[in-house]
Symmetry: D3
Subunit: 334 residues, 6 copies
């Protein structure tokens, strides 16, 4: 189908955008999904400087790279999360401020509104990101969690995000939540509930990323079938389940990449995701947006992986059929 093949820059923000863009161009990518951190895409400047967006486009065009969506995972995370020391390292100083939790939540929400406005200026229709969650720590119901505590978590999500989504609506931009652990939605049924919590409003949809579903045992294809009109962006990321009797699916408080974990992320094609069926499902729902690689594999050199995965995605993408096969047997059509 010749969907554009992009690299999401989130895991490359230690590199300057120029360096990163040059490498990706050389590997054959069609474009980048810019992260709103590092110097990749700076929301504050995009809104403050009249020509920031234009110059950013020029910077990309120098490498023949498109940008169809930007990503604001880090700030989005701080909207609903219970803030702690971990957030300081992922937030811009002006969002972290004095680190007072309520203030951080509020400033993060403001920054997300600003991100919608920057996206509009930059000319992209989709902002990918996280929402955070005030109830993630209640995941396992012990000490017993009363249903109302969960209800409250989804309500707080709606209360904090509806005003943000209003701005997205004004800007004609959509917010695509990457369904992911620690977010308000991390699997199929919690995605259903999150969508319900905001009344199914159109500004809210999903950045489909099969890697987070795979190890939870959720079939990524079922996710696409469940939300055919809410797949606003697609991440190509792979994961593998490495249960062997000793490892556990919850990961044992062990860092990513260690073989004693029950699962790990993998370069696309090196894990358990069935991309064939995903492409077919995306064809079925008419998804025509980018296929954006989020590259993360603690066991592989990332330059090797970036190059290899660009080719992998090109090879796996194909257009749907436009013929009915029986027609060829029908003499009237011969």
């Amino acid at each position: 189908m010749a969907r554009p093949v992009m690299m999401f820059t989130g895991q490359w923000a230690d590199l300057k955008l120029d360096e990163m863009a040059k490498a990706m161009r050389d590997f054959g990518f069609d474009g980048l999904e810019l992260a709103c951190w590092g110097d990749h895409f700076e929301v504050d400047k995009a809104n403050a400087e009249a020509d920031y967006c234009e110059k950013k486009r020029e910077q990309l065009e120098k490498y023949d790279l498109q940008c169809l969506a930007i990503s604001a995972h880090l700030v989005g995370q701080a909207v609903c999360d219970i803030i702690d020391e971990r957030h300081k390292s992922i937030l811009p100083p002006y969002v972290w401020g004095d680190g007072d939790p309520a203030g951080v939540n509020a400033r993060a929400a403001d920054e997300m509104k600003a991100t919608a406005r920057a996206a509009q200026k930059f000319g992209v229709d989709v902002v990918n990101g996280f929402t955070g969650s005030s109830i993630w720590h209640l995941l396992y119901s012990f000490p017993p969690v009363q249903p109302k505590m969960i209800d409250d978590g989804f309500q707080l999500f709606a209360d904090r995000w509806n005003p943000i989504l209003d701005v997205f609506g004004e800007c004609g931009v959509k917010f695509a939540l990457e369904v992911h652990p620690t977010e308000i939605a991390f699997d199929l049924y919690s995605a259903e509930r999150a969508l319900d919590a905001v009344g199914g409003r159109e500004e809210f949809g999903f950045n489909f990323d099969p890697s987070h579903l795979l190890w939870q045992g959720v079939d990524p294809v079922e996710f696409i079938r469940a939300f055919p009109d809410r797949i606003y962006n697609v991440h190509i990321k792979d994961a593998i389940v490495t249960l062997n009797g000793k490892t556990g699916i919850l990961g044992s408080h062990i860092d990513f990449g260690d073989h004693r974990r029950g699962w790990n992320f993998r370069s696309p094609g090196h894990g358990g995701v069935n991309f064939e069926e995903i492409i077919r499902a995306l064809n079925d729902i008419g998804y025509a947006g980018p296929l954006s690689i989020e590259w993360e594999d603690s066991g592989m050199d990332r330059m090797h992986g970036a190059e290899e995965s660009c080719q992998f995605v090109r090879d796996m993408d194909f257009a749907p059929s436009n013929v009915a096969f029986d027609a060829a047997f029908d003499k009237e059509k011969q």
Copy 2:
């Protein structure tokens, strides 16, 4: 092997002990693993009243029931947990107090010491229970969790439990952590790390419960093989994985018992636990303690289940061999 078959009373504390004991006697149980809540086993009274323990024994003997271990899951949970509103409902008022987190942690630690003393008075060698965990909410490493944060969590566990375990040591009683989500150890590798954190001291071991390992993908038999000298008590509890493409292993913030969850607890024999191999492994390590049913199945009448599972455990237990089979072929031994 005729290990005694017990019922853990934790899920029956809404019933008075007499009522509960009578029913279990009728179902054929050999004894009860008394929970330290409800009127089942009251730590404060056991220490304060000279004849509490004696009367409790008489109460059990009236129904021909033994008691070989008591359980203190609820108070133990509050030792390391970050305290919130959920803990109020599971703690005795004198432990909860004013609910100030640091105070609750401290009083819970004191109560655990008192529990060791009560166990000694009551004449049981093992107290089962939980430890709580200050790092459970960091389970999924996003926002990125620095290794030091995990290290600190295990250190805090050691700092809070070592003084408690000292008292256990003095009393000649062992503490058996039920390896379980939300505890400092919830799978094989975290159990290894928890044991290391307290220097492998003998007072600290495990209440082996396969149900919590099964759905995480950990083979319960591997757990026994890994800690052959630390299995201080055994819970017979079953669970089933019900992944079908839409359900997720993390449970989607959905209550136990709902078929949209990726796993659920089950009455023993109705789930996925391979008890045959567990009995063989317990035989291998020489475990001669009780097989204590922790009955929980949101889809079955609990009286039906209690009766059925008592018989199930009797049927599945067997003694190891004491012959070498080739001996019968050897004419000198004929």
Copy 3:
């Protein structure tokens, strides 16, 4: 749950009802699901003779057997089928008549109306049966089948069965189609379409029989989840898939029972049906009707099988829970 355990008499019509009933009573059954063939339940006499139904009840009561549903598979088959020589052997002479296809279809439809009336007289709420299908032979789309041919088949089903279902409605009786190859509905999606074809009218539901779904690869539990308010009767029948590389799922035109087939029917518990999950799903939807064994196993003596399966069904049935397990941890409820 103490649902009544019945034997469906369809495969025993070579025996007189008295003989059959006596054996089933001795095996421990609670009742019979009478087939409308042999001398088990004669629709013509039930309508014509004032005391037929009363005498039939007395005949059953002599053996302490209930009857909660009757079954009219054979005549129902002839309503939509394209009639051929096979139908002669399964129809009463007065329905077969001269064997002219259109006449047979019409008389079969009339007989189904008569069956509803007889059921009302006999005091049962459910008639189980087949519908036949005019499009079964189009199952595999070669020579290419135009969608309209399938549409026409479902329309013909609706046209022929709506007048019958009108009579069922008048009589306060429901028709429960056993979803089965050669019927208008043989799997989940065709059942959905059949239900749509008759506008979802309440008189039309299903006799749930997992054996026919199993070998097609349909999870019987998914069927229950899909039609929770349309399970009007339950057949306990088992089947096994015996694919070994040489056998085929379509059965190779080989008779039932031959090991060269890719699947076969089995006595309950001897095949691949997961009755545990079925009972749980039936509990979830609140099904309180009979569990009716349809016994068929070409490799087992049927008397052995009948006795064994009665016990099997009693053992597998259980009531759902009426407690919330966390309640026992809550000190306010202790």
Copy 4:
């Protein structure tokens, strides 16, 4: 082994042969397996026009394409089938005639004889095709099918095809039945019985196509092992089983390509067929004929698929070994 890689033109008959041949040449094919419909290979003209075959060869040679077999599936289907409206659209007018079933059967048989003669003239040794079946609709034995009805179906097949095969024998051409649903043979055991029905005569063999066996659960390799001397042609076609609990293997009267079906055809390498083992089995039996792609995938652009699959087949084919490995260890052979 460098077996020639062909494209079967059956599903491309909506294109003129020139257009089709040009595309296939560009994709790298060695040749075409011409369908006897459209303008690809016209049996009537081949017999009537002295230079038809020569010109057809020239037409192919223009594109450097060979032709080693022709295919007559559509007319063959009408030899044994019970004729209905579907056949009209797949038959040449001169075979359909007035559509009277007996007449259609007879004219189809005559056309098959003519096809053998045309094949001889065209210089190919194999005609692939279907046989039809008068008993396909009896596949599931309800209403009960008497064994004699099946016997009669195989006898009718023999009675109608033996005279046709006599002509094949005279012409030195073989008929290769594509074992396929709706044919007299659709799996391994029915193929065995069909071969027996014609006395194992050499003119009758099989066009091996793994796709039809796969979803029935028959291992394609077992088919090759069962009939090592009867594999007269090989179709490379793939299929996938997509059972997910709701879909059924019989396809629910739903069109090919819909994801609610329990299986579908796939471009080679995109399904479940294990071509590696097939190549090894073909090497074992010494099959040296063409590998002919029958391309059908309702979810993929056919031009993309044709090109991709040509390369796929080239990559998967390899020659068998001609050394004994231990020889290299033997010092006398060094």
Copy 5:
């Protein structure tokens, strides 16, 4: 089918027969398959003493126990084996003699002839046993094994056993080889070759024991299907494959019973053998002989196991059907 349930006494020869028989009677067995070692069945005395066989029968009848076959595994092993120190401990002194290999082979062959004569006197039709093998050590072909070395091994088997089988023929007794590692036949294809080696003579058949096939990956049912007329005795013995990534199927030179082995024997029903399908296959071939438990489970008390397995075998055995199920639908048969 009420096949008699026997205990094979081979693994109980450390017990006197009286003691053993009493225990087995109490456990519910119908009879014993007497081992020709210990005092269970002494071939030399049976031939030498006029009343030995009669007294042995009386001894068994005292416990209501039948004997339908005797077993001569140990001596049979020495017929073809390359003799080493291991054989001394399993052979009677008069067979071992001076231990000179050729002499041992010859005396073992004589003893097998004597066993046939003793069986005839004792009134049993079947002698179970081993054959030994001169080529077992060549199992893995390195250093490279020339085909002739294998041919020679089967020829030697035929040369040594044909004279023995002649005596079996004279006595009207059959020899049933237990297909087993270290024997001339240890799986399906080697059994086929062994049978060929003795020209398929009727005196030679098999003692079917599924446990030895299971861990080799051979489906025991396929063995029954392959040799339907050569199943002369049936051993009920179970085994389990315990591969976990570290264990190996060859057993690592580790003793039976150790969990580090890749497989082990198990009490019937505690392993991986599918006895259901075995019973059905035995019903299909009309096997009406005994079901003889060979009990060996290094992880279970043998008295517990013997009692439990007797009941297990009774429960699993059932008679085949004698009705055609469709008959009940046929009004002429009602």
Copy 6:
């Protein structure tokens, strides 16, 4: 990681080294692992002729081929084996001598010492090879094998190999046993025991070859995890398990390559070995040596296979990561 891709010449010794080297160069190999048989690497000449090693290097360099290890499987086999006629064909005449077993064992041991010296001269650090085993024929413990017999086998291995390993130590060369059936170590636990037998001395390690582990059910990755500091060389060889119910894992005394065997060797990528996980494990342990293809596939032309597998190995090898992924989220590192 750009590990060098080598071809092991053992299976090509029927070809002169020049011919073989030329072909491998053309296929793209980086080097050869020379076998110490044929004219590939002659130990006697290497020690006797001053310039043999230098000329051998020149011969290789002519084809741009490296050599990092030599292999002495055949002579090594004769060190511990019980010698029989098979060894004659694999040994140099000066090792075989008069074929007297003790003499052969002794001369083979001497030759292994000579091989270490030759390796030193030739400038390679590793000699791969076999050890033979005096207890392989005792693999299956019947007639019962006493533990002492196994102990003796490992002791004999130590007694014979320690003096050899002393010479290896002197030469600064390591011996890498290819863990393989018929050797003292053939799976994970026997490898552990062999290593213990020689006191874990550093001169003794393993030539990791996954093909021999796979069919035994041992996960090759577990082997690497078990011996991270003893992987001295790596063979890339594949195998496939072809159990189908009739075939057996022990191979039925049937030659390699026959489809009636339960497993066979395969060209890399055509079997069941998961090379992806092997590369990751090798990366984890820091293995930086060669990836040496041992090519053996009875069903494929070896020239085709050699070429294809060289590319396969290049494609599958990759370097590990040197970044921490979370770093990119950390604003301090951006």
